[in-house]
């Protein structure tokens, strides 16, 4: 079966690195993959999203059809809610709990969290705290990839190899920080997690 994943966030949060790791992991597993990104003007502190689809069979559309996303993985809680119509009935929403407030009329954070908790399959993760533990606040994106990884149906080792490959040009320390961040995210406290089909 094709896995459909919506990645959500704000320009500059490192969403395309998550997409790159997913792509690399799927390719190494011999799966077909399509991954639509947003480039250009929207990247400047605005809304960014990516549709990632992978699986053993042919993948036709680059865009995910509404009502069929297995996972919405978001680096920002309000951005996670923006794509709700895409989420399948049994799909999961995994999001960073911390807001990115660069607009004057950002909604009440409690009501955002409450709406997310109202979904049957959800996971709210404090990515910043775990990224700091891993060694760099910039690794929050890999924390979130780890937190979403149980819903991906990709082997953990393939994702870690994907991280090593995507960050291969960086120092060994940075590579290890990102791998640590991924593992911390995967094992993140599940207080908010209400079960699911992972």
């Amino acid at each position: 079966m094709t896995r459909n994943v919506i990645l959500a966030g704000v320009g500059g949060q490192g969403l395309l690195s998550i997409a790159a790791v997913l792509g690399e992991a799927a390719r190494r597993e011999g799966l077909n993959l399509k991954q639509a990104e947003v480039h250009g003007m929207a990247q400047r502190g605005g809304v960014v999203q990516s549709h990632v689809r992978f699986g053993p069979g042919p993948i036709h559309s680059d865009l995910i059809r509404e009502g069929t996303a297995d996972l919405i993985l978001s680096l920002e809680p309000m951005e996670a809610l923006r794509y709700l119509p895409f989420l399948a009935q049994d799909g999961a929403m995994v999001t960073n709990s911390e807001p990115f407030e660069n607009i004057p009329d950002y909604p009440e954070l409690d009501s955002i969290h409450e709406e997310i908790r109202g979904l049957p399959n959800h996971r709210l993760v404090d990515a910043a705290a775990l990224a700091k533990t891993a060694g760099s606040p910039r690794a929050a994106n890999m924390v979130m990839l780890g937190a979403g990884s149980p819903y991906l149906e990709l082997p953990e080792e393939a994702l870690i190899t994907g991280i090593r490959s995507v960050f291969a040009g960086k120092s060994e320390e940075i590579v290890e920080t990102n791998v640590r961040a991924f593992r911390l995210g995967r094992a993140a406290p599940e207080a908010e997690y209400s079960g699911g089909n992972a």
């Binding site: 077909n32 399509k34 639509a36 400047r44 559309s61 680059d62 690794a139 960086k170 120092s171």
Partner: protein, 535 residues
């Protein structure tokens, strides 16, 4: 076969390199930028075996590619859809002059205007230039298109357009790469006179282009990019152009009962079209962009059989890109249950980066023009266009590349004061310089503020053709050197910058203020490179 994970843009670029590309020229523009970014980064370009360069604008890019083709090499020029407007003159006339070495023109359209001011459809230019066009349906076809198009270009002595749209340009997929072909040797055209488009010669060349139209049609009918997939239910026939094919397959869950004509090469393959038109009562046309094919099939009488349905009939929205939902809705197919949209999220428009020099320039301009109700700032295409949004609300217009200076000039001529133009360094060298020359020759009362951040920032930091020569260019164009001033847009220089802007706005003739500070993004990348980097 080796596989790679590439964007549609990158697949096209790799396909061109593998097909013996010798030269690539482009001006950056979303969603076409990554074609040339990729070519420039390639080992072939870095090793000097192929010549890949950013140019001043799309017109100079296409003319350079035409020259390389004249010299027998395989060459390409790449641009976004509105860039083709800038390059329209060489686009149309290169079709008449023709190609010697293979010449391809890659144009990426942006339906839904993700990063553009319109959603014009480049296929309409085919009607003027009368050349063939390939429209790949996926990344693998984007890889295959250049080899095919170079071959067609050389066989038919004509430039070939390759049309992409945003979703293919900016979507990654695993592709298989093929064998590498050697670049062409240098060779001059056997009939050099056809490049001299004097009327007497051009008439003959134009007749020759017309005479080759049946060959272009035959090529379309035999093309691997066009195919008729049979279906058992012929009450409906479907025509799907480019990536629309994927949405049709998705909407039917991969198993479409109706005949589907996949269009991936123009002119329209009439031989494949006719059987569909005869057998089916209703034809659905799915195409990203304008109702180009639909309009041709529908003719003047929309009631004539078969009934043609698409954007013109209202079955598909007239504007915006296609999606699996749009196609499924038009065909009245079952949809999975969909959750209602959340009412919580508020819009999050793009914004200037924290610390961006353009923000300081916008604040200084607002300060300088305070209490001058009649003042207008005519602006241009670039990151600084975001100065239109709060908290700056600094600019009044943004129409197309270079229009800031020329619109300010016309408004000044018509009596508007103060007339100010706000333009970036790269947009200035793209198409602002000639407008400034007009102002100098006419002694126009206006002030041109050139925000020089040293890069083409909006598209990701490509090399700016201005190369820190803005001051000498302005003086060379004839602006009085005393009225070519430079400011450093920084918060702690605000008062000084406001004062300089006021002085030059008060000057009754053309004046230029260059706001010079490096883009915060390129500065950060440079700092990271020199310290070994972080994530």
């Amino acid at each position: 076969m080796p596989t790679r994970l590439l964007l549609g843009d990158e697949a096209l670029s790799q396909g061109a390199i593998d097909a013996g590309l010798s030269a690539a020229y482009a001006y950056p523009g979303t969603p076409s930028t990554e074609i040339t970014d990729y070519a420039i980064r390639s080992p072939e370009s870095q090793g000097g075996r192929i010549h890949c360069r950013w140019t001043a604008n799309e017109k100079t890019a296409l003319e350079a590619a035409l020259g390389a083709s004249y010299a027998g090499r395989r060459a390409m020029a790449s641009m976004k859809h509105v860039g083709l407007n800038v390059a329209a003159d060489p686009f149309v006339n290169a079709a008449i002059a023709g190609a010697n070495g293979g010449l391809i023109i890659n144009v990426a359209d942006d339906p839904s205007m993700h990063s553009s001011q319109n959603e014009q459809d480049s296929r309409l230019y085919l009607e003027i230039a009368l050349i063939p066009c390939i429209e790949p349906s996926d990344q693998q076809e984007a890889y295959a298109a250049p080899a095919y198009a170079f071959g067609l270009s050389e066989r038919s002595r004509v430039p070939v357009m390759i049309r992409l749209t945003t979703r293919l340009a900016h979507s990654r997929a695993t592709i298989e790469t093929g064998d590498r072909r050697s670049p062409n040797e240098f060779s001059l055209p056997p009939d050099p006179k056809r490049y001299i488009l004097l009327p007497a010669i051009a008439r003959g060349s134009y007749d020759d282009l017309i005479a080759r139209q049946p060959d272009f049609l035959a090529a379309s009918e035999e093309s691997p990019f066009n195919a008729l997939h049979e279906g058992s239910d012929e009450t409906i026939g479907i025509i799907a152009c480019g990536i629309a094919l994927n949405y049709v397959r998705e909407a039917f869950g991969g198993d479409c009962p109706h005949p589907v004509l996949k269009i991936g090469q123009y002119p329209l393959p009439l031989g494949l079209l006719r059987p569909l038109l005869h057998r089916c009562e209703t034809i659905f046309v799915f195409e990203d962009g304008y109702p180009y094919v639909e309009g041709k099939l529908r003719g003047l009488d929309e009631r004539s059989k078969p009934i043609v349905r698409g954007r013109l009939s209202g079955d598909v929205p007239r504007t915006g890109e296609l999606s699996p939902e749009v196609v499924a809705r038009a065909l009245r197919l079952d949809a999975p249950p969909v959750r209602s949209a959340s009412k919580t999220p508020t819009p999050r428009p793009p914004a200037l980066c924290p610390g961006c020099p353009h923000g300081d320039t916008c604040r200084a301009l607002n300060g300088a023009l305070e209490a001058q109700e009649s003042a207008r700032i005519f602006s241009d295409i670039g990151c600084y266009t975001l100065g239109a949004l709060p908290p700056y609300s600094a600019i009044d217009t943004c129409v197309e590349m270079g229009a800031s200076i020329t619109m300010a000039r016309g408004a000044s001529d018509a009596g508007l004061r103060p007339a100010v133009a706000l333009i970036g360094d790269s947009t200035f060298t793209h198409s602002g310089m000639t407008g400034l020359l007009d102002c100098v020759n006419d002694g126009t009362d206006l002030t041109v503020v050139i925000v020089d951040n040293g890069t083409v920032a909006m598209t990701g930091g490509q090399r700016s053709a201005a190369e820190s020569h803005i001051r000498s260019i302005c003086i060379g164009l004839g602006v009085d050197p005393d009225h070519v001033r430079t400011i450093e847009p920084l918060p702690n220089r605000h008062a000084e910058n406001v004062a300089i802007l006021r002085e030059e706005i008060a000057h009754p003739g053309p004046s230029v203020v260059i706001a010079e500070r490096e883009c915060i993004q390129t500065a950060r990348r440079r700092a990271r490179r020199s310290t070994g980097g972080t994530t």
